[in-house]
Amino acid sequence: MTPPVLTFDQPHPFPGKLIIVEGLDGSGKSTQLQLLQKWLDSKGYNVFFTEWNSSELVRETTRRGKKSKALTPTTFSLLHATDFANRLYHAILPPMKAGMLVLADRYVYTAFARDAVRGVSPTWVRKLYNFSIRPDMAFYFKVPIEVAIDRLLGGTRAQFKYYEAGMDMGLSQDITESFRIFQSRILAEYDKMVSEYGFITMDATKNIEEQQNEMRQVVAKALENYRPKRGTHGKRALFWRRFVLPKSE
């Protein structure tokens, strides 16, 4: 009657492949993942994409909690775990079981890093997420804190968000300074996890194409023995094959 228990401690048993990216805000990880998806799409793979804190139901609650600043480190952590569980069930496991590719912008490591910095027990967070599956590839886009700040302030965002800057922790009255302290601590947590979880570390200070080429090489190698499964040939795949696919790829 009960389904087999999934665990994060072992490789997952599914035919699909799960590729995730981690890194600070402003590390460029999302850009890289989008480019990777373009490439995989163009190769005719069936690719699914999911991102942190995006399931409808929980996002609304998180927004409400953040607005009233009523979230504690533990409820903050649990809400994100709920969101993740919901996405795991609806967006990650079905394509994984069907043998497709899943790309995730941030994964459980984001929680491990952020929640530890907020003061939640690291052991507890790891146990909390034990129902998740281990990714096949985890890219970590490593960037010095100053570069991340410059990118964020120089880009579309004129100011940091309250929780992103860790303002709830009372680190500093100045939001940029708070961001710097908070994100530095997250950076330290990421660095600790590199060997613990076998991250593929990417130098995120390099230019975009260079990083993307490296990433594609690593992924291509990892997918050597992977046989893609498709139900139908989607419109997008056809479009790419007919008009856009460069010869070099």
Partner: protein, 245 residues
């Protein structure tokens, strides 16, 4: 609580050693009269001059609406459900229960973490994960388990509000209709509660007795716990900041 302690990996940013009040939880399946008894206990305690707050499953300001929406069928997997309950519980623990205990209130909890344990276990068969998740919960001073047999329970629920989708565990498809499913589901829950009663030393109370008789039993068990409290706490007056290490 005196020296309160956490069930497992606790809130590492919150020291529970200076909680003056008492935490009393009432557990049991749906329809055993938990809320009636909590009302009566509150009255009885307040007449004696105790400060009392009550707290109930899914009643947090953060989560109650979300859980309602989830129950409409927006979330169906076991993890999300258990985590929604855990978030609700954490919100109440940090915003209601711990502050009240720190100020010396008696906290009466309508359902506690054991409800989550039973519901998750029935769906997963694995007790470890859910117990780890609720590691941050405070261990209560007293846990009452209002025990009932499933036949009496079925009669009671039909007589009062009727059976609903979730109380019948319809997500598990245990039976052909509400009634069959209700009985199977509640029987499984009772089985789990019975096991936990031994493991966690619940005070088991026969919920089929008349309410007055049950109240007498509850009060007799609560009295010594409160007396204990008073003696122990005469010289405790630590400011709140000191315990927030």
């Amino acid at each position: 609580m005196g020296n309160g302690h956490y069930f497992g990996d606790g809130l590492s940013y919150l020291n529970p050693s200076d909680l003056k009040g008492r935490l009393i939880a009432i557990e049991g399946t749906d329809g055993v009269g938990r809320s009636t008894h909590i009302e009566m206990l509150q009255e009885w305690l307040e007449v004696q001059g105790y400060g009392v707050i009550t707290t109930g499953w899914t009643r947090s300001s953060l989560m109650s609406k979300t859980i309602e929406v989830a129950k409409q069928g927006n979330i169906l997997d076991r993890w999300s459900f258990s985590l929604l309950y855990a978030t609700d519980f954490a919100d109440r623990l940090e915003h209601q229960i711990i502050p009240a205990l720190r100020s010396g209130f008696v906290v009466l909890a309508d359902r506690y973490i054991y409800t989550a344990f039973a519901r998750d276990l029935v769906r997963s068969g694995d007790p470890t994960w859910i117990r780890n998740v609720f590691g941050f919960a405070l261990v209560p001073d007293l846990v009452f388990y209002l025990r009932i047999d499933v036949d009496t329970l079925a009669l009671r629920v039909i007589e009062s509000n009727g059976m609903n989708f979730w109380e019948s565990g319809m997500d598990l498809r245990l039976g052909a209709d509400l009634y069959d499913s209700f009985k199977k589901y509640q029987a499984l829950l009772i089985e789990e509660f019975d096991k936990m009663a031994e493991e966690f030393h619940f005070e088991v109370v026969d919920a089929r007795k008349p309410p007055e008789e049950i109240q007498e039993v509850l009060r007799a068990k609560i009295e010594p716990v409160l007396k204990n409290d008073r003696r122990e706490l005469q010289h405790r007056d630590v400011p709140i900041e000191a315990s927030l290490t």
